[in-house]
């Protein structure tokens, strides 16, 4: 067990606390090891210093089918910098040295399967992981994962999308824990210009059917988007591609990247206060 695990916060604690303050959770995302191990640790520090309420950490995968070009590029950079699954867990351990906010993993299921499902969840729990979402693991296939998540005290997080029928939302909400990841757009990850009304409709539809907190992700790339989804009833907003784009645009100037990420995060956090 992680020596700090007693102190780590649960998703419930975080969402409850924020609700009492009339705030939503700001949840930034980075791929572990993008563009390299130490720089991405510094990026996570910037997240935390600038108001992140929880973290989403991607484990890089060679074939990320649910991701658009921004995250794909980040995955390739991270793998190129020598990241392995074990190094990704060490990355989580490093984060736990400076923050106790919830850490969610975003992975593809083959990374879990290949390590051995139990081995993966045990190691994740030891490293201080709060929740695990496998982008290509629908409830139909998630029996063993949920079992191991329960055994090792990790939340299994699932996605719901605009195409998800109501009865299915109910099933997913029953199976999942921590929060429900609401996919904002019909599509893959990537920065977008607007929040669609269909996203707002989905938030309302999901909120009506479950008490589980929800966080909206995919395409959330501006402070206005964050404000819109929080105002529509989401408990949190997950921002990925827009942050990765800052890394991509400043590969030759690390300090500038970190500064921009810090400023951007601070703006995004402000927008969760409604």
């Amino acid at each position: 067990m992680n020596p700090n695990s007693k102190k780590t916060m649960t998703y419930n604690q975080v969402f409850e606390e924020l609700k009492n303050k009339n705030e939503g959770a700001f949840i930034p995302f980075v791929v572990a090891g993008d563009p390299d191990f130490e720089t991405s640790i510094e990026i996570v520090k910037k997240f935390v210093e600038n108001g992140a309420d929880a973290l989403e950490i991607g484990f890089p995968f060679s074939d990320p089918v649910a991701d658009g070009p921004s995250v794909q590029t980040a995955d390739i950079r991270a793998l190129g910098s020598g990241m392995t699954t074990e190094k990704c867990f060490q990355f989580i351990e490093r984060i736990r040295e400076f923050t106790q906010i919830p850490i969610g993993l975003l992975v593809y299921y083959n990374l879990i399967y290949k390590k051995g499902i139990e081995t993966f969840y045990k190691r994740a729990s030891e490293a201080g992981v709060t929740g695990i979402l496998a982008a290509d693991l629908p409830p139909e296939e998630a029996g063993s994962a949920v079992e191991m998540a329960d055994k090792y005290g990790v939340n299994q997080i699932f996605m719901v999308a605009q195409t998800t029928r109501n009865e299915r939302i109910d099933e997913i909400a029953k199976l999942g824990s921590g929060f429900l990841y609401v996919v904002a757009v019909m599509g893959v990850t990537g920065a977008r210009s607007d929040i669609q009304t269909s996203t707002v409709d989905l938030i309302t539809r999901v909120k009506d059917r479950t008490d589980l907190p929800i966080a909206v992700g995919f395409g959330i790339s501006k402070p206005e988007h964050v404000r819109d989804v929080i105002k529509s009833g989401s408990n949190g907003a997950i921002v990925a591609s827009a942050i990765i784009n800052i890394i991509t645009d400043n590969l030759d100037n690390k300090d500038k990247a970190l500064e921009e990420i810090g400023n951007f995060c601070s703006e995004l956090k402000q927008s969760t206060k409604i």
Binding site: F61, S62, D63, P64, V65, A66, D67, G68, P69, Q72, I76, L79, T84, T85, Y108, Y109, N110, L111, Y113, K114, K115, A135, D136, L137, P138, E140, E141, F158, M159, V160, A161, Q162, T163, T164, R165, R168, I172, V183, M186, G187, V188
Partner: protein, 393 residues
Amino acid sequence: MLEDGKFGKYGGIFVPELIIPALEELEEAFYKYKDDPEFNEELKFYLKEFAGRPTNLYFAENLSKKLGCRVYLKREDMLHTGAHKINNTLGQGLLAKYMGKTRLIAETGAGQHGIATAVIGALFSLPTEVYMGSEDVERQKMNVFRMELSGGKVIPVETGSKTLKDAVNEAFRDWITNVEDTHYLIGSTMGPHPYPTMVKHFQSVIGEEARRQIMEKEGKLPDAVIACVGGGSNAMGIFAGFMNDDKVELIGVEGGGDGTETPRTGATLCKGTEGILHGSLSFVLQNQDGQISEAHSVSAGLDYPGVGPEHAHLKVTGRANYVAVTNKEALRGFELLSKYEGIIPALESSHAVAYAEKYASMEENKGKTIIINLSGRGDKDMFIVAKEMGVEV
């Protein structure tokens, strides 16, 4: 979903939530129409009139003498567009039409499946976009042109290794985005349920015909059926006809590349380990963390780090055997059939021919009756083979 799509432990639906409703819709439509008389009447019509079924089961007399076995060739190479792929694209294309889909997308490696999709797009008036790795676009310019002539739009994929697996990723991303009006026409017995079952269904016409034909010609079943395995559709199609005939040996031949002991190989079942790629649990070429490796084979159709899940099941249960043939051996198979029979096989099918020679050379197999599934013709491979042979054309 109505079924879990498992073959033993393999298969399943390992896809992002956004696609699930589309898979449910597809599964429901497939189960509804696969036994629908009107649908089947129409499919039969196109298979006969457009594609050219039934294909012959040809007794290869010269090759038989040379090898000391009775060798039959199932002539899928005679089909329109030059390979078995059209059996599946006609089936799925018609299904997409019955479902009211207005757009087709597909992935392609060498271009065979892309062409077979583009032509049925033209036939059924469905706009068709084909994802193809930019490396493959470069290597297979002629096929890109053929697709475009039939009105298909070829989209070069610049991500990852820029080959077939990346084209599949990109087609999935397109489908995730346009799931409501688009049918993703997967080209082999791979992907999430219901694809492996559905593609097998549309390809099993090969095995049904072959079984009937060999009974007519030989009055008995063959001793062995040999087919090449990329994603596994031509093999599954012919195996399907003999699955319950326990005495018939089923042999799948993978693209060994430079050799299964080297990293440059496409032999997923021989060399891979269990893993999840493109929606199903099967065998995969991957590293110890589960990162997918690049496959290598002289034949673009066998150049894929995954394989259909039912083949994984047939392998572990022992119902079928899987072997690998190197690039060099495949080229020998290519020359052998061209020279002895005047039939120029696709490089993929040449792997099956090459293994048939090995099989026939074993003492215990002397005089046996074998069927080689000649999945495609070699026209598309002229430039590659000439280059390998050091000939300028």
